[in-house]
């Protein structure tokens, strides 16, 4: 779209990674006199966060515009410098069609989070530390998607742990301490095991360079090495993604995290696991992946069904709920759960589709996985924003309390807000024409015809189970809409007050995500044209 020379794009990519780091340090320092606003240092530092994340977002947009869209399969804006020759670690950065969408998504979500926090500062201690941690988190996530060296990848992967821990533990809601510990210990255990896999690859192949390793497609790595490496890497990525049954940190972390923490956790951090799977495990150890793909697929569809069933249990009223009285329905064991927790469980289901797409080892499936990745970031990010806003308005996210006897009636009490919530829920269930649809469809198409060497009957079974999972997803999402958005407004003395409708800053934070959801749904080629050539070069010899 715009042409820039190679040096400029290179510097731009480096700036994208380094700017948030510098911003994080600057956030801890007192503001210089020229930048002091009228509303005290807390507002200043929050504005600083908006400025830095905004700059980073603009930089990623320029990078995307300067990206050579005719050749998304090759690494562009590449920087390759020696850093620690003793361990063979190089400062190797670059983007291609797989990492570019994730970079832009990360920068966008972080910017929207900073914007949202500016108008709605998080409840908790000083915002200076909040902004510093947010920026450190952004640096880590952007670096994860931009680096091309295994050890640097590990460094970036680990960088997000400490800031996320503190975001949950300091600014979170009830049960935050335990949830933060669960998050950090689970992930660190996974990532240390992942480190063993990375080292095994590096030591046996003699290089940590991801490009060289991907081009070798497993040459020079014995079958055993590949198996061990994929096993170790798989555990690390599966914890992060999370894959059932290693998911149990996720609902707690999401429920306890502040709104921005949840948005980033779902929108960005979970992507790091699947990105690693596609970027590292798939091309570097293809034999290992081929061996483990059927198991990965089985765990993936188990996650889809498990996540959906958990959501169904959460969305149904608890047995002693007033709406049950006189109901002809049998008394079910609904959990009467928390809406935030429900969205967290729905993430497990959605990430199941991503994993299923990867497990097919076909370009269709992997493209679908990458598409679903981005779609999930947009939609679930928006859902967490909305649930956070709902909590601000009503003071609760507990579905039973929210819904009362016959629904929370958001349509009536706060029409635009209710409408947006319904839109997002429908997008999340994968309605054609919205972003959630294509990823899941492509993943299932991939499962219909998996790569040569994979058992087709097994994958057809997975396909059937996954399709059943989409039905369950539709069921619980529609139930959410019914219980939260619909309902009759009771008249008389117990009329609930009108809720404030969407505010200006909420439009600013939510509309971009909604618009992109529609755009990606109506024009999937904008993403697929980027990812497909890159996926083709990651998966050689597989007939599409």
């Amino acid at each position: 779209m715009i042409s820039m020379n190679e040096t400029a794009t290179r510097l731009l990519l480096v700036a994208v990674v380094v700017l948030p780091l510098l911003g994080a340090v600057a956030a801890l320092l007192p503001a210089p006199p020229g930048l002091r606003g009228r509303h005290g240092p807390d507002r200043d530092v929050l504005r600083h966060g908006v400025t830095v994340t905004g700059l980073v977002f603009v930089a990623t947009l320029v990078l995307a515009a300067a990206f050579d869209h005719d050749d998304p399969g090759t690494i562009q804006a590449e920087t390759d410098r020696s850093w620690i020759p003793a361990l063979g670690i190089r400062l190797h950065l670059g983007v291609d069609g797989i990492s570019l969408p994730l970079l832009v998504l990360t920068a966008l979500l972080t910017f929207l989070c900073a914007l949202h926090s500016y108008f709605r500062p998080p409840d908790g201690p000083r915002p200076a530390a909040f902004v510093a941690l947010l920026l450190l988190l952004e640096a880590g996530t952007l670096a994860t998607f931009a680096v091309l060296d295994l050890m640097l990848f590990f460094l970036a992967f680990e960088t997000v742990l400490v800031p996320m821990y503190f975001l949950i533990a300091r600014w979170g809601g009830a049960g935050r301490t335990a949830a933060a510990w669960k998050f950090v210990l689970y992930t660190v255990l996974g990532s240390v095991v992942m480190l063993l896999g990375l080292l095994l690859i590096g030591v046996r192949a003699g290089t940590f360079d991801m490009v060289a390793l991907a081009e070798a497609h497993g040459d020079g790595l014995t079958h055993t090495t590949q198996l061990l490496a994929v096993l170790a890497l798989g555990i690390g990525f599966a914890v992060k993604t999370p894959m059932w049954p290693l998911h149990s940190w996720l609902p707690d972390a999401h429920t306890a995290a502040p709104t921005t923490g949840s948005v980033l956790l779902a929108g960005v951090l979970l992507k790091m696991g699947t990105y690693g799977l596609v970027r590292i495990a798939l091309p570097i150890a293809p034999e290992g992946m081929a061996t483990f793909a059927p198991y990965l697929g089985a765990f993936a569809v188990a996650g889809i069904v498990y996540g959906s069933l958990a959501c169904l249990a959460l969305v149904r009223p608890s047995p002693d709920h007033p709406s049950r009285k006189g109901s002809a329905l049998p008394r079910s064991r609904g959990a009467g759960g928390d809406l935030k927790r429900l969205v967290a469980y729905s993430s497990i289901g959605h990430m199941g589709f991503v994993l299923l797409g990867v497990a097919t080892l076909t370009p269709t499936g992997v493209n679908g996985a990458l598409f679903a990745n981005v779609a999930h970031g947009l939609i679930t990010g928006l859902l967490f924003f909305l649930v956070g806003a709902l909590k601000e308005r009503t003071g609760t996210t507990d579905l039973d309390r929210l819904a009362g006897e016959n629904g929370a009636a958001l349509y009536g009490r706060s029409p635009r807000f209710g409408g947006l919530l319904a839109f997002t829920a429908v997008a999340s269930l994968g309605l054609p024409g919205l972003a959630g649809f294509w990823g899941e469809l492509l993943a299932m198409v991939g499962a219909f015809d998996p790569a040569a060497g994979l058992s087709r009957p097994a994958f057809l079974t997975y396909l059937a189970v996954a399709a059943f999972g989409t039905l369950l997803t539709a069921a619980y999402m529609l139930l959410v809409v019914r219980r939260v958005c619909m309902g009759e407004r009771p008249s008389g003395a117990d009329t609930p007050p009108d809720l404030p409708d969407l505010r200006g800053y909420e439009y600013a934070a939510f509309v971009p995500l909604a618009a992109l959801t529609v755009l990606a749904g109506l024009w999937p080629a904008v993403l697929l044209d980027l990812t497909d050539p890159a996926v083709q070069s990651l998966l050689p010899g597989v007939v599409p």
Partner: protein
């Protein structure tokens, strides 16, 4: 036959400067008026700084002295790369520990002259040890390192825990020395030489009837050094000793004392017993796994509210860290060039652990209970000290932003993977996750809001500013840590080349 060995004074300067300064300070203590005793501490720090400078001409690592006149390759003292690097670590560690001790001696908590004499003597021994190339020098150096340490532990005036801890330390340590000497004599019987290279050459051709004796000798010698390195099951003296000792002495023992033991272990395993890799390799691997697990589990169980929990946690974590240090030694039985990784890890550990102790010493001057709970809200009171401590703890845990800690751990993992020690690597992976819990828990305390309740026991309304030497130590350690985080190559370069 010419029995006179030539002595290259420049080569042995680092330990000699420390030893001479020790005696000089002891004598000077007799003549200095009480008001000027404070000068002794600065004198000791200066002497250690000079000893560090004396390492500069040796940095190429190709000099040796005390060589046999008939056989110039057999030397008792070699200033090779390993020796010079470890000397840098122990003398630098002693320098930082001296900075930590200056406020302590100024308060009169410990008697000045004796304290500095003992500290410098021990540092001289620790500097001699990595350069020693025969078993007699090695054992003497080890004893010179540890004997003053017993006294240092007991030195605090008016404390009751100190003497008891010192006695425990002394008795168990002497037992280890006796065992070690017995082992050395067995080895000498088999090899007919005390030179490490002579032993390596002599053992394979030893009289087959002495094979059992030699095996026992090898094992007993290793036990002595494993004790000094505080490897499990020879670790039980550590927590009591650290808690009983003055804080700077604990800091000194955790870095210099430990490194002396590890260096000795490296020398005997790789130089004297290279042919016995199948004997000590698995043992070192098991010791490494046990040591890190025992240290980390005990550190995990440390109650943050209990008195002395901060020191106790640092003590247990130092045992855990010693376990990581043993991994490259275990790997050296199966792969080449792994010792440099241990040295690189030890350098990282030395810097950040002394930094953590420096902040602890600073906090202890305001709240003497040494509880981790006392660190609650430190960030609100003293942001710089809190950020420094957070950085040191995250380095020890091996998490960004402590990048140097992360890569030092990566290098250790790499040796294990390279040597096909998969089980040990997995054990270490679990341990790293466990260790993260207690390091991060402490870090989280720093940033919590100050406790709403009344001040903890032992709080004095001291000024917030650390004493100048403590500030210097904290800044120095933090600076080195940050520079190394940006350019880990500076110390990881040892990990790629042959050290010995």
């Amino acid at each position: 036959m010419n029995l006179v060995q030539t002595v290259d004074w420049a080569v042995i300067a680092p330990p000699v400067i420390a030893a001479v300064a020790a005696v000089a300070l002891l004598v000077a203590d007799l003549f200095l008026p009480a008001a000027r005793k404070a000068l002794l501490g600065w004198g000791a720090a200066a002497a250690l700084a000079v000893a560090l400078l004396a390492l500069l001409p040796l940095r190429d690592g190709d000099r040796a002295t005390f060589c046999l006149p008939g056989d110039p390759d057999l030397c008792s003292y070699a200033a090779d790369r390993f020796a010079v690097t470890v000397q840098l670590l122990v003398l630098g560690g002693a320098f930082l520990a001296a900075l930590l001790s200056i406020p302590e001696t100024e308060d009169g908590a410990v008697p000045g002259g004796e304290f500095w004499f003992l500290l410098l003597s021990s540092a001289a021994g620790a500097a001699l040890l990595p350069a020693a190339r025969d078993l007699a020098t090695l054992i003497i150096a080890l004893e010179v390192t540890t004997l003053p340490a017993y006294a240092l532990v007991a030195l605090r005036r008016g404390g009751s825990a100190g003497p008891e801890a010192a006695l425990k330390f002394f008795l168990s340590s002497v037992t280890a020395t006796a065992v070690g000497l017995l082992g050395v004599s067995f080895v000498y019987a088999g090899a007919g030489s005390l030179y490490l290279e002579g032993i390596a050459a002599g053992l394979p051709t030893a009289d087959p009837r002495l094979a059992t004796l030699v095996d026992a000798g090898v094992a007993l010698t290793l036990v002595a050094f494993a004790f000094k390195a505080a490897a499990v099951p020879f670790h039980f003296w550590v927590p009591e000793t650290y808690v009983g000792a003055p804080l700077p002495v604990a800091a000194y023992l955790s870095v210099v004392g430990k490194m002396a033991g590890v260096a000795g272990l490296v020398l005997v395993t790789t130089l004297a017993f290279p042919g016995y890799g199948d004997l000590w390799g698995p043992v070192a691997g098991v010791l490494a796994g046990l040591t890190m697990t025992a240290g980390n589990v005990a550190a995990l169980r440390t109650d943050p509210e209990a008195p002395h929990s901060a020191v106790r946690l640092l003590a247990w974590s130092s045992i855990g860290q010693a376990g990581y240090l043993l991994v490259p030694i275990a790997a050296s039985a199966y792969a080449t060039d792994t010792i440099g990784t241990a040295v690189a890890y030890a350098l990282m550990y030395g810097v950040v652990n002394l930094g953590a102790f420096a902040v602890a010493a600073h906090v202890a001057r305001q709240r003497s209970a040494h509880r981790i709970a006392d660190y609650r809200g430190l960030y609100a009171r003293q942001p710089a000290a809190a950020l420094a401590l957070a950085f040191f703890l995250l380095c020890l845990a091996g998490l960004p932003p402590g990048i140097i800690g992360l890569f030092a751990k990566v290098a250790v993992f790499e040796t294990a993977v390279d040597a096909d020690l998969g089980v040990l690597a997995v054990v270490m992976a679990v341990n790293v996750a466990v260790a993260l819990y207690y390091y991060l828990r402490w870090t989280a305390y720093l940033f919590r809001g100050p406790a709403a309740t009344e001040a903890g026991p032992g709080e004095t309304a001291g000024s917030g500013r650390p004493a100048a030497p403590l500030t210097g130590a904290i800044v120095l350690a933090a600076l080195v840590g940050v520079v190394l985080s940006g350019a880990p190559q500076i110390i990881l370069t040892f990990a790629s080349g042959a050290m010995l």
